[in-house]
């Protein structure tokens, strides 16, 4: 059997998720041995229009990017959205909370109307083309990425946890961030990251997106217990989970 051909493409993002693939360090040599990487602009000069698996990093923010993504989709058998920007829009969607002309003026001043600075609504990949698998996180968890790739190669259907970060945070025996007077999104955000942020003394800011059916009542109870409002929670959801 020939090795599956894999191509990695990036759109509007920080490219930190591609970096997590490099950060697999020694393990990446094994992965490269079982697939045929045919295009990966950040790491290689080779390019190809023939691939089985397309991995998409970044959000879609311009008409030309939408067009490019559609071409990639038409060529790929399997399309994977890699990381928060591709999966849910991530921080790039904060822009959608503002008037775009005002946003351009804020950053580019008197030059805001130059045609190459045009921008449109930020969208996640699944809002533009069908997505087969999603690897969430900002950045992605490298181990999770390697697991998904291995499962795909073995013909299994990879799954991502659908329970909240609190489950993994409690397993790490962390004191709840609410006890420190903080607003943590752990109760409603998808686990699988291993709760590194609360473990390092920081709150969950929601980079992996919501679980499929967030327990809104439980979240409200938590907010009430700590004398916080739903609006306080929404102020934190803006960071990675704007619409």
């Amino acid at each position: 059997m020939s090795k599956p051909r894999v191509a990695i493409f990036d759109f509007a993002c920080c490219e930190g998720c591609q970096l997590q693939i490099v950060n697999l360090e020694e393990e990446i040599i094994d992965l490269i041995g079982v697939v045929d990487v045919v295009e990966w602009r950040e790491a290689m000069s080779e390019q190809s229009h023939e691939y089985d698996i397309a991995i998409i990093e970044g959000s879609i923010t311009r008409p030309e990017d939408e067009h490019r993504l559609q071409i990639i989709r038409s060529r790929a058998k399997v399309l994977i959205a890699l990381g928060a920007c591709a999966a849910i829009g991530g921080v790039n969607k904060m822009k959608n909370n503002f008037d775009f002309n005002e946003v351009k003026r804020c950053v580019y001043g008197k030059d805001a109307e130059m045609p190459h600075l045009a921008t449109t609504t930020t969208r996640a990949v699944h809002e533009v083309v069908p997505v087969d698998f999603t690897i969430p996180g900002c950045p992605i968890n490298g181990e999770e990425f390697a697991r998904v790739v291995r499962e795909l190669l073995l013909g299994k259907t990879p799954t991502i946890p659908d329970y909240p970060v609190c489950v993994e945070c409690k397993a790490k025996e962390n004191v709840c961030r609410y006890e420190y007077g903080e607003i943590c999104l752990g109760p409603i955000i998808r686990a699988g990251c291993g709760a590194p942020c609360p473990t390092a003394g920081w709150r969950c800011f929601g980079c992996r997106g919501f679980v499929d059916n967030p327990n809104v009542d439980a979240a409200k109870e938590v907010m009430e217990k700590y004398k916080l409002t739903v609006d306080d929670l929404k102020q934190k959801m803006v960071l990675f989970n704007s619409k």
């Binding site: 920080c14 290689m44 030059d111």
Partner: protein, 442 residues
């Protein structure tokens, strides 16, 4: 001799972000020679408005995955400047360590994975795995140790979660610091090996120079005078090879960068004393080479790199010297932390209205952030100036000199030299928006 050349490199490879190179030579006349930056703009300065002071570093860290630690650190310090927060010596030292881990990781990645393939005549690091397995494994090991250091100090490798205005949410224990010390001591011989491997192919670096202004930080913080951290990546004010010793305060960075919009680029460009300047490892080296650690100096000597070098391709060599330097500087700081031991320090912040500024050396050059907050601590204004932006105009001016010099070598050789030139700057185009393509128009 080739009279007609068309180079059209759309989305240059082995760089972070999207850039194009376009060259059009007809009958020996250069009609077009451009460095273009088509990266999708993301408008971070607009997006931070309305967010609370302690969410800023979480947002702007996402400007760049490769230098997320520098962005988080400089944002945290700009917020601290605005809110008039002082940090303890322990916080200062732990943050230095976190920052050094990023320099090491980024430099090893750039020289080992992105530049070395050019010198070995390969299109990526992948063919080097069977060709030079020991060298590749050594590079991977140094990269892994740097990343483990980031994870220990930043809570995870990329986009750190231990920084908060006023302090750190977690500090390493003395046991963790001792283990880190051992790891760092063990990779010193590996770094020397990496330098020797690169040196064996360094003849492939083009002999191209162009008189250039180099801009970097200059240490002004009393705590670090006389230490290895006097060669500064972190504290200090702004100096240039053209400023004749005059140091410009960080709060006045906008008068150094003089940002402007170029129709070739979605990233803003900058200029100071001349039409362009360069930032990065070579700029830091040219401004403060005498302050390098002993091994850092030895690496520079190995390659014949001397202060005043104006060959942009030697930025990668300066990065290797800095790899050695940051390991020795980290060991010095670990020893300092170990003499006192570490403890968690609680942070108390009272929001206040004000504007603050900070500068830092990201691996690819000097980086500025400024923010203003209202009395409740909500952000009302932000401005960031990224090192790659500060190199765009200089890359264009290098092209303007390089193309006439090498056009007689033919299209392929010229394209190769232009691609290598851009790579040598270690550009972070997502940072500057997201940029890089080469296009030779025939």
């Amino acid at each position: 001799m080739s009279k007609n050349i068309n180079i059209n490199v759309h989305h240059l490879t082995r760089v972070e972000g999207h850039g194009n190179i376009v060259v059009n030579i007809t009958d020996g006349t250069i009609e077009k020679c451009q460095w273009q930056v088509p990266e999708a703009p993301r408008f971070f300065e607009a997006m931070v408005r309305g967010r609370r002071y302690d969410d800023i570093q979480t947002i702007v860290s996402r400007i760049c995955g490769i230098c997320s630690i520098s962005h988080s650190l400089v944002a945290t310090r700009a917020v601290e400047d605005a809110l008039k927060l002082e940090v303890t010596e322990q916080t200062d030292l732990v943050r230095h360590l976190l920052h050094y881990s990023e320099q090491l990781q980024s430099h090893v990645l750039h020289v080992g994975y992105l530049v070395a393939p050019d010198l070995f005549g390969e299109k990526s690091v992948v063919p080097l795995v069977p060709k030079a397995p020991d060298a590749v494994k050594t590079i991977i090991k140094a990269h892994r140790v740097a990343n483990q250091m980031s994870a220990l100090l930043g809570g995870r490798i990329t986009h750190p979660v231990t920084l908060t205005p006023g302090g750190m949410t977690r500090v390493p224990s003395t046991e963790e610091l001792k283990a880190l010390k051992k790891e760092l001591e063990a990779i010193v011989p590996d770094l020397v090996t990496i330098c020797q491997v690169v040196l064996s192919v360094a003849g492939g670096l083009p002999n191209f120079t162009r008189d250039t202004e180099y801009v970097s930080l200059w240490q002004t913080h009393p705590r670090h005078k006389g230490t290895l951290s006097d060669y500064t990546f972190y504290h200090g004010d702004i100096i240039s090879t053209d400023s004749k010793g005059t140091v410009v305060p960080i709060s006045k960075w906008e008068s150094v960068a003089n940002e402007y919009v170029s129709p070739q680029s979605t990233a803003k460009w900058t200029k100071w004393h001349r039409d362009s300047y360069a930032a990065g490892a070579l700029a830091r080296f040219n401004n403060q080479a005498e302050k390098l650690s002993p091994l850092g100096k030895k690496v520079a000597e190995m390659f014949g790199l001397k202060k005043g070098c104006c060959n942009p391709y030697f930025n990668s060599v300066a990065q290797l010297a800095e790899c050695a330097h940051v390991v020795e500087a980290s060991l010095e700081i670990i020893d300092k932390l170990l003499t006192k031991g570490t403890k968690f320090e609680k942070v108390k912040v009272t929001p206040r209205a004000g504007r603050g500024h900070a500068g830092i050396e990201a691996p690819r050059g000097i980086l500025f952030h400024s923010y203003e907050f209202d009395k409740n601590g909500n952000c009302v204004w932000g401005n960031c100036c990224i090192p790659t932006n500060q190199n765009h105009a200089n890359i264009q001016l290098d092209f303007d000199k390089l193309v006439p010099k090498y056009m007689d070598e033919g299209e392929d050789a010229l394209r190769q030299k232009m691609e290598m030139l851009v790579r040598s700057y270690d550009p972070c185009i997502s940072c500057s928006t997201h940029y890089l393509d080469i296009e030779f128009v025939r």
